[in-house]
């Protein structure tokens, strides 16, 4: 089978890459194979030579006018001007650039039909989301359209990861070439895939939340370590020992739990990245990350980042600013992310972070190269981009000996492009995988372009002129017949068949309607025929009459230069450009100071702060030299307000509903800095908040104390040194879920009691083991461990409650186990058991006046806090509401209306709240040694007509009214600039 592949027509360069035979016949690779051959063997030489190419052999290394020889699926040689072997099929590719085939280190290739129904066979883990035993190689079902989509982007080899579960199984490295699955698999199990999200296909059970996923990941890794020890201890001396379970998931995780094999975490945003780093730190595991594209938002994590990072180019859609009304709903955060995301790869490259690029995360993998180009336009060098698609992923996946560069001996994976692939407009013509050529874009029929003289014998006008210009694959046509311009309604060029087709107005030919012209391009001439509206046919002929220059590329325009915007944190509308200064000394002078401590309220007093701590409060304090001084005459100063119950600031939900008892889950694991509420709350004088788990469980998750350090990373917003706390919940919310115990308040009591007993027994088991560590060790159980800490007072109990019966019930259960309930939250009927609360020693953290929103809130009273306070219960007001958390002083002020003394009322949002949360040594009052968290108000904090002017946390001014007005201007300006940028470039 022979045919010409080198051809010159009419002096123009015509590159035809026409393949008439089935690909598989052309590129049989001689290899050892297990299947016997049926029928005749086919042994066409699998030798090819790509001649005259610009070969980018490795990032930054180029051989011009190179000949690349491929033999039996491998690269035989790459040499400048080398002669192709005689048996080679020669591909004249002058003007083309050849790269090593790309490697995508994170895909779901071939994972589209998981065997879900079989996942619980054998010794499975109790939780169906733990699929660690799944093998990507064994799950693989080839999907040719998926493969073709990736190949069209130049990708020849991929890492494919199983798609279901939290521990999702072992990945596999797969070739996108031809052959049976066994021939495709390059490597099994370079990494275990881990995701934060549960797969509903495997069951809609625990975990239902991100913090639940994190808890399950931690528990599973602990279990894997325990499993190895337990099996070993048993196998040494099975007699006399209770046989430990067999578990295929835990067995599969042994190496990972010991840090001998990587865990590949798929992160969907920068928060999940931060959480991953924390989890892995705890276990000393090897880590790979599939990034999110938002890494630039966490610069503190990217300094010195050395984890293998696989980065998507999933740049966001243009925000909808089409109409001024729709633009109203677009803020700086969305606009900035859209603007900044294409710069993420360059941002990381500039910081020395090594990464591979992946098509994963794109809705359509066809956007991959286009988006890589956007990244290059935003400063990623072509060399780094190429490395991120070749050598870097090859290194991650351990296939650098065979993939990633154009070198003799390597697998013949190649990308043939009609120019620099990282500039706009370049098109991939062919992709080679394992020595097999896959045509991607047919070579255009450049020969059709130009000026043609036409003769149309038999037509009224027999002479004509045709000018074909514009893009080679879809040219524009100007046609005249007999000197008269003729409208061409459509035109197409079929490069393989070398055929041109046009539909033209038949008027000049003497007919009403459309005439259809078709021609074969051969020997530099057009040999045509046409069909007229009346069914008559005529022939036509075209000869060259001049050249035109083809339009370049796909009509793509260059990326506009990005705007120069200041860095802000968080990347939200009111983000900061810098952390506020912490003056060494600060003196607030001449104010009415509500110390909320033994000094009471002082008129015309001063507050002295040193390095973030209160030094003194009193009259006529001396300012150390260099101290910053705030003249606060006529102003009121109070401690920063504290809200014991908020939910804003979670980056992953607030309820783990999958189980009734979940103290192992922790809100602290899922805090996000992307929390626009924080700034609003600061503006209302809030400096500390207790971010709480929801109320779906009798024993819920652990909460976290936050300081309102706007602009700092989430982890640094945690209130360091604050005690651990846990959410309990009673009443309607916990019994609302059908098919989950409990359904009544009776059951709620019993399940709490039962778990208290279980915790005591767990503690005893460990005690026994520590006294005599022989045999099978006890298993660490994070849930029971947390319960033990709760019962030993190391985790403070914060119980959601409404009715008096349930409040009393929980106190009595706790007392039975010598446990104290530290605080009841909501406590709509707490006033009904005020003496009992005082006797038990529980604080009451209640709403000022919420009522009537459900039956258990029907007996609410505005005087709840007052009666509790009068009874002697430590009484605090909470918001449980992001909006109200921004004006807690007015919640306290309502108590003044209810008859509470002013200072006592303010205590309910300062020192009493600190007491209820176990942080009274640090915050809640302005006393020597305490944190310099304070608010300057323009009047009494309990007046309806007052507002906060400044809010300080740790001796840093995080909010100031005048600064806020500047910020408001900046937000308006930036929105305007970014929207204009979209309008200018759409």
């Amino acid at each position: 089978m022979t045919f010409r592949v080198r051809s010159t027509l009419s002096g123009w360069v015509l590159t035809l890459a026409v393949v008439l035979a089935p690909l598989s016949l052309e590129a049989q690779v001689v290899t050892e194979a297990t299947p016997p051959v049926e029928g005749l063997r086919e042994n066409t030489p699998g030798v090819h030579a790509l001649v005259g190419v610009r070969a980018v052999t490795a990032p930054g290394q180029v051989v011009d006018d190179a000949t690349v020889v491929i033999r039996d699926g491998l690269i035989e040689s790459v040499g400048a001007g080398a002669e192709p072997p005689a048996e080679a099929r020669v591909w004249d590719l002058e003007g083309y650039t050849v790269y090593a085939g790309f490697i995508d280190a994170h895909t779901g290739m071939g994972m589209g039909s998981p065997r879900v129904e079989e996942r619980e066979r054998g010794p499975a883990y109790w939780n169906p989301q733990i699929q660690a035993f799944v093998s990507g190689a064994r799950e693989y079902v080839h999907d040719e359209s998926q493969a073709a989509g990736l190949r069209a982007q130049g990708i020849g080899a991929v890492l494919t990861v199983p798609q279901l579960g939290i521990f999702r199984g072992e990945a596999a490295v797969v070739s996108l070439g031809e052959g049976r699955t066994g021939q495709r698999i390059l490597a099994e199990g370079p990494a275990q895939s881990v995701s934060f999200s549960r797969s509903d296909e495997l069951g809609e059970t625990y975990p239902t939340s991100l913090m639940g996923s994190i808890a399950l990941i931690r528990q599973t890794l602990l279990d894997a370590a325990w499993y190895r020890e337990a099996r070993a201890a048993y196998e040494v001396a099975p007699a006399g020992q209770v046989r430990p379970e067999r578990n295929q998931a835990l067995a599969a995780l042994e190496a990972h739990a010991q840090g001998n094999a990587p865990l590949l975490f798929e992160t969907r945003n920068e928060d999940e990245l931060a959480w991953t780093l924390e989890i892995v730190q705890e276990f000393d595991s090897q880590l790979w990350i599939r990034g999110s594209g938002s890494e630039y938002r966490v610069p503190h994590l990217m300094e010195g980042f050395s984890v293998p990072l696989i980065l998507p180019v999933n740049f966001p859609e243009v925000p909808d600013v089409d109409s001024p009304e729709s633009a109203l709903n677009v803020g700086v955060a969305e606009l900035r992310h859209w603007h900044a995301a294409p710069g993420n790869p360059a941002y990381l490259a500039d910081r020395g972070v090594e990464f591979a690029l992946t098509s994963d995360g794109l809705d359509d993998p066809a956007d991959f190269l286009a988006n890589v180009r956007k990244a290059v336009a935003r400063g990623l060098t072509s060399e780094r981009a190429l490395a991120a698609m070749t050598t870097v992923p090859a290194g991650f996946l351990g296939i650098e000996a065979t993939h990633g560069t154009l070198e003799a001996g390597k697998t013949a994976n190649l990308v043939v492009s009609d120019g620099d692939l990282f500039s706009e407009g370049a098109v991939i013509r062919d992709v080679w995988v394992d020595g097999v050529r896959f045509p991607i874009e047919p070579s255009p029929l450049t020969a059709a372009l130009g000026e043609w003289s036409l003769s149309v014998p038999g037509a009224p006008a027999t002479e004509g002129h045709l000018r074909l210009h514009g893009a080679v694959d879809r040219p524009d046509a100007d046609l005249t017949l007999g000197g008269q311009s003729v409208e061409v309604s459509s035109i197409s060029v079929q490069p393989g068949a070398r055929r041109l087709r046009m539909e033209v107005d038949a008027g000049p030919l003497g007919h009403e309607g459309t005439a259809r012209f078709s021609a074969s391009l051969s020997g530099g001439e057009l040999h045509g025929w046409a069909e007229l509206p009346n069914g008559a046919r005529l022939g036509w002929h075209g000869t060259p009459a001049g050249e035109v220059t083809p339009a370049s590329g796909n009509g793509a325009t260059a990326s506009p230069a990005p705007l120069d915007l200041p860095d802000i944190l968080p990347l939200l509308d009111y983000g900061r450009e810098a952390l506020p200064e912490q003056p060494e000394h600060l003196l607030v002078r001449g104010a009415t100071i509500w110390t909320m401590g033994p000094q009471g309220i002082l008129e015309n007093a001063d507050l002295l702060v040193e390095a973030g701590r209160v030094v003194a409060v009193g009259e006529g304090l001396d300012a150390p030299s260099g101290a910053q001084i705030i003249e606060a005459e006529g102003r009121h100063v109070t401690p920063g307000l504290i809200d014991a119950h908020i939910h804003s600031g979670s980056g992953g939900g607030i309820n783990e509903t999958g189980s009734a008892i979940v103290p192992e889950v922790r809100m602290g694991d899922v805090v996000t800095a992307n929390n626009p509420w924080m700034y609003r709350q600061l503006a209302g004088g809030l400096t500390t908040a207790h971010l709480m788990h929801g109320s779906a469980n009798p024993i819920g998750g652990q909460n976290v104390h936050m300081k309102m350090r706007w602009g700092l990373p989430a982890r640094e917003q945690h209130f360091e040194g604050a005690p651990r706390t846990v959410k309990f919940a009673l009443g309607e919310n916990v019994k609302r879920r059908t098919e989950r115990y409990p359904d009544t308040r009776m059951g709620t009591e019993q399940i709490i009691r039962d778990h208290f007993m279980a915790a005591r027994e767990y503690e005893a088991r460990w005690g026994a083991w520590e006294a005599d560590p022989s045999g099978i060790p006890p298993r660490r159980d994070l849930r029971l461990e947390a319960l033990v800490d709760i019962m030993n007072g190391d985790i403070l109990i914060q119980a959601h409650s409404y009715r008096q019966d349930e409040i009393l019930m929980l106190m009595r259960v706790a007392e039975e186990f010598d446990v104290t309930i530290d605080a009841f939250h909501h406590g709509v009927e707490a006033y009904k058991v005020a003496p009992e609360l005082r006797e038990h020693g529980a604080a009451a953290v209640v709403w000022s006046d919420w009522s009537g929103f459900k039956i258990e809130a029907y007996d609410a009273t505005l005087y709840n806090a007052r009666l509790l306070h009068e009874e002697g219960v430590v009484t605090s007001l909470h918001s449980d509401n992001s909006t109200i958390a921004a004006r807690m002083n007015w919640e306290a002020a309502k108590m003044v209306r209810a008859g509470v003394d002013e200072e006592d009322a303010l205590a309910m949002v300062t020192i009493n709240t600190a007491r209820a949360l176990g942080i009274q040594d640090r915050v809640g009052s302005l006393e020597e040694g305490k944190d310099a968290d304070f608010v300057i108000w323009n009047g009494s904090p309990l007046s309806q007509f007052t507002r906060a002017e400044q809010t300080w946390v740790d001796g840093r001014r995080y909010f100031a009214l005048d600064e806020h007005r500047d910020l408001e201007q900046r937000v308006a300006r930036e929105r305007g600039e970014l929207i204009q940028f979209i309008l200018d470039n759409r």
Binding site: D573, P835, F853, I855, A907, F945
Partner: protein, 465 residues
């Protein structure tokens, strides 16, 4: 506890003693249940000081009609429609104010009450409320807000108003004496009714009904669906208008009746404004245009984005009833105080506006604080007061009866220790049409009951702090 709060406490005690001394000769007030014991931090309970011994409340009940003329003397009177009157006198008889001013002679036979040091304000008006129609959230049997279907102009709020609702008593004891109870849901929800917060039956409690027709403006999500929904509203009004013309021109012949369109006739005759729930910019502008086309009077309720179109609203004199002043910005780019400053911005632009409470009936009593928030963020204090008295009364067409203190208007007012928008102010007494309202509300009743529990166990415990 401290110098400062101590001063306040002593001050209030002093004031209280003065009042008690003056009231000594004025005779006992009618009704029981005035035994509200204030905490040690607040001895200013007129009831206590009047000499009624602390005891468990008697069953509270609606107040009887006014019996004989009463003259309140010496208080600072805030008529709202004019400047404050220091040491003024307010006389009312048969539920109506007969005289108000600084130089009013107390009529013979009138019971004279010395209220020096106190303040008189008109009762507050919440012009958009679920009061009487909503009892307990999540418990459908107790909620009568949403009738079935999209078009219910004939649904009348007053007939479903539950006089026994728990939510009226805290509202009136915090100063809200009138609510405009409004149906919800669908495209046209029904007509609202201005209700007084005391009475034996809904009939007695109705001040005026209907006050307006409630329309929920479609939500502008998908453009095509939005256009279609507005078209439906136009068609609906057109059908109703054609019915009205048919009935109007029938000259005695029988036109088959349609309750829905019958209820809308007052709208076309110009007697009944349409209250349109609209928060988004497009909703507000489109509702205003629609009302212009239809030739109906409009009152925007919600009005979240009204700050973006102040010129439009001012030019066409469209009133706005803001329903979420103590809220948060709806968009991340907006400043934290966007809702707080909205009333001031409307005021400066000359837009006619009032402030409503949230629609949750239990929270009606927070109305004053919604308005007070606007003062903290730039609205003049007197405008904030008008925004919860006079202006909403005008919007509801009840300003001849309530919303100000003028001769001939209802004696529906508050006796307070100061501005009702401020937390430290105590609402001491409320009058509705001259009837002296029992100030024992459900919140206080629970307090009293469980205070008794503490007392039975030997008194309150130690100071909670």
């Amino acid at each position: 506890m401290t110098t400062r709060s101590g001063t306040i406490r002593e001050g209030t005690l002093r004031l209280g003693r003065q009042i008690m001394a003056r009231m000594g000769s004025s005779g006992r007030r009618s009704g029981g249940g005035r035994s509200w014991p204030m905490g040690r931090g607040l001895a200013l309970s007129l009831g206590l000081l009047l000499g009624v011994a602390p005891a468990l409340a008697q069953t509270p009940h609606p107040a009887p009609p006014q019996d004989g003329a009463v003259a309140l003397v010496g208080a600072t009177i805030h008529p709202i429609t004019g400047p404050a009157i220091e040491e003024g006198t307010l006389v009312f008889e048969d539920g109506v104010i007969t005289a108000v001013g600084a130089a009013v002679t107390v009529p013979t036979g009138a019971r004279e009450v010395d209220l020096r040091g106190m303040h008189l304000y008109p009762g507050l008006v919440d012009a958009h409320s679920a009061m009487g129609l909503f009892e307990i959230g999540g418990f459908d049997q107790t909620i009568d807000l949403n009738e079935l279907g999209e078009v219910n102009p004939n649904a009348r709020a007053q007939v479903a108003f539950n006089p026994e609702t728990r939510h009226t008593s805290p509202a009136r004891s915090q100063g809200v004496l009138i609510t405009n109870s409004t149906p919800a849901g669908g495209l046209i929800s029904g007509t609202s009714a201005a209700m007084m917060m005391d009475g034996w039956t809904w009939e007695e409690m109705t001040l005026r009904a209907p006050t307006n027709l409630m329309v929920n403006w479609p939500f502008p999500g998908d453009e095509a669906e939005y256009d279609e929904a507005i078209e439906t509203l136009r068609d609906t009004f057109d059908e109703a208008r054609r019915y009205w013309r048919a009935a109007d021109g029938s000259q005695g012949s029988v036109v088959p009746s349609d309750s829905r369109w019958e209820a809308m006739i007052p709208v076309f005759e110009g007697d009944l404004p349409v209250m349109v729930q609209a928060n988004e910019l497009r909703q507000i502008q489109d509702a205003v245009s629609w009302a212009g086309e239809e030739g109906v009077r409009i009152l925007i309720v919600g009005g979240r984005d009204s700050g973006l179109v102040v010129d439009h609203l001012a030019r066409l004199e469209v009133p706005v009833l803001l329903s979420s002043v103590q809220g948060s910005p709806s968009r991340d780019w907006q400043p934290y105080d966007e809702p707080f400053t909205l009333p001031a911005r409307l005021h400066e632009a000359g837009v006619s506006f009032g402030i409503a409470g949230g629609t949750s009936a239990p929270y009606t009593y927070r109305l004053a604080w919604e308005a007070g928030t606007a003062v903290a963020f730039g609205l003049p204090e007197e405008e904030a007061l008008r925004a919860v008295t006079l202006y909403p009364a005008r919007f509801l067409g009840i300003d001849d009866r309530v919303g100000a203190l003028e001769e001939g208007m209802d004696a529906t007012f508050l006796v307070t220790t100061g501005n009702p928008l401020e937390y430290e102010t105590q609402i001491d007494q409320a009058y509705i049409q001259g009837r002296e309202i029992d100030m024992m509300d459900v919140h206080r009743r629970f307090y009293e009951k469980y205070r008794e529990k503490s007392m039975q166990r030997g008194g309150f415990g130690a100071d909670g702090r």
